[in-house]
């Protein structure tokens, strides 16, 4: 049933937004899209999302996370220059407990101005030495495996069987392109 097919697909605001004609897209490539937030924290907030639907950042492949941070950094610089912001905040809210509102992982670049009514300050807690040591040991053990990040799988190269012959013909005809000759030279 056509209607039931559209019912079962979870409605994701960001997936819909990035494919709609009304989105203010600032950057787009194979993996990442950046656009102006429609419900900004501060005027000019930009949202960077992976094109594919991932809910939390732990699910996003490492190379896409790297790209997202790169784009967020450049947009942060753009915001400094174009909106005369005096500072920026970069915020990833991972999970409802952290304040995530849309079930699509996102990095938000928030421009900050002198005298704006925002504050991300928190009340620092004092933990006992014992608690801190326990957390340190547990986290250290798990973080020791960090490294060897996932890279993008390259597309397999399709070998064109006519290409080497064309190069040979070119060389035989007395082509002065030394690069072609170099490839055909047998050491």
């Amino acid at each position: 049933m056509e209607q039931s097919a559209s019912q079962e697909k979870p409605a994701c605001d960001y997936c819909e937004l990035i494919s709609s004609p009304g989105a203010f897209i600032l950057y787009e490539d194979k993996h990442v899209v950046a656009f102006l937030s429609e419900e900004p924290i501060s005027e000019g907030s930009i949202v960077v999302v992976p094109k594919e639907h991932y809910v939390i950042i732990e699910q996003v492949p490492d190379y896409v996370v790297a790209k997202m941070f790169h784009v967020a950094n450049k947009l942060s610089v753009a915001v400094f220059d174009s909106l005369n912001a005096l500072g920026t905040n970069i915020l990833i809210q991972n999970g409802v407990a952290a304040g995530q509102r849309v079930n699509h992982c996102s990095i938000e670049v928030i421009p900050r101005f002198e005298g704006d009514a925002l504050s991300f300050a928190w009340v620092p807690k004092q933990l006992s030495e014992e608690e801190m040591s326990t957390i340190e040991i547990e986290l250290k053990e798990l973080c020791s495996n960090i490294g060897g990040f996932e890279t993008e799988k390259e597309e397999p190269v399709v070998l064109d069987s006519s290409a080497p012959k064309a190069a040979e013909d070119g060389a035989k005809k007395g082509d002065s392109d030394f690069r072609k000759k170099q490839f055909l030279r047998i050491p």
Binding site: L36, H53, N73, F120, I146
Partner: protein, 321 residues
């Protein structure tokens, strides 16, 4: 730390000031081992330590080993490396501390709340209803005109930096999406795909659940609704007041009643659109459910809606007239 007068500072070159900052930077001392700290991760380019005044237990600071004060000064490859490490540390926090979410936060500049001269990424584990109110920020929907103004200012600069120019301009008149409700109605774990293997699988129950504050909407009995539309012109839409409290196996609502008045006669309520968008939907479409009462426009035939300039949503394509 060496005391420097304002006069001396004004006569120093930027390089000298940076060197002075580095000399006085406590985080550089921590990295060099001169000041003790609780290190949880270290590699050749960055280091992660526990914050001694945490927002929540397990608050981690991720610092580049080289002294940089703000993010724009950091080389691209290091930014990417820090992002990937931050993701893995967040994963470790979720696992070890049984946290229900994490906030990954960067403050660039004193105005943004940067307190230390050394760049750092904060990774703060969060729990439901914990007392950290820092990241609960109210939001307002922006006007399309103001978004367009900002877009025209930012796009030239970002295009230059990122080497991207959009092929077409955004359509300003038609809003791109309906206002988002307070939470996405879904069962926890429903639309969360299996966590990709990154060397550490999330144990069951620790994936941050995404649920609306008032609970998920009940799952509709789709076939019953479809039959209702095919056989009877009366439209039924779930009422917003009938949300199930429990997240598991919510009861099916076969014929929930439409809230609010006034309503047009039932035979003319077969298709619905919004005054704020350009698409016409079937009443059981998830997008149609999000249309505010005061913005709903009803049609008895699809052709009427198309004549008014609406476009078909996927839910009505190829279906009834």
């Amino acid at each position: 730390m060496v005391e420097i007068s304002k006069e001396d500072l004004s006569q120093m070159t930027p390089d000298q000031i940076a060197a002075l900052q580095k000399q006085n930077c406590i985080f550089c001392h921590i990295i060099n081992g001169k000041v003790s700290s609780k290190k949880i991760f270290e590699d050749d380019r960055c280091i992660a330590i526990l914050d001694i005044n945490p927002a929540n237990p397990g608050h981690v600071l991720l610092l580049p080993k080289e002294h940089y004060s703000i993010l724009p000064l950091i080389p691209d490859d290091l930014v990417q490396h820090l992002g990937q490490v931050a993701k893995h540390i967040s994963q470790a926090c979720l696992r070890v501390l049984r946290a229900q979410g994490t906030d990954i936060f960067v403050a660039n500049g004193a105005v943004a709340g940067q307190k230390a001269p050394h760049f750092m990424i904060h990774i703060i584990p969060r729990r439901d209803n914990d007392d950290v109110s820092a990241f609960r920020i109210p939001r307002k929907r922006a006007l399309r005109e103001s978004l367009l103004r900002i877009y025209e200012k930012v796009l030239p600069v970002s295009s230059e930096l990122l080497g991207f120019k959009p092929e077409k301009k955004p359509v300003v008149d038609a809003p791109s999406s309906q206002p988002a409700p307070a939470g996405i109605p879904q069962k926890p774990g429903d639309s969360v795909p299996a966590a990709k293997k990154q060397g550490a699988d999330l144990p069951a129950g620790s994936v941050p659940s995404l649920r609306a504050p008032s609970g998920p909407l009940p799952k509709l009995n789709i076939d019953a609704l479809a039959n209702a539309i095919l056989n009877k012109p009366e439209l039924t839409m779930p009422s917003s007041g009938s949300r199930a409290a429990s997240a598991t196996s919510p009861p099916a609502h076969a014929s929930p009643s439409l809230p609010s008045s006034p309503q047009p006669p039932s035979s003319s309520r077969r298709f619905v659109a919004s005054t704020h968008s350009n698409r016409v939907h079937a009443p059981n479409c998830p997008l149609a459910r999000k249309i505010k009462q005061e913005n709903r426009v009803w049609f008895s035939t699809k052709q009427e809606a198309l004549d008014m300039g609406y476009e078909e949503c996927d839910c009505v394509k190829g279906g009834l007239d």
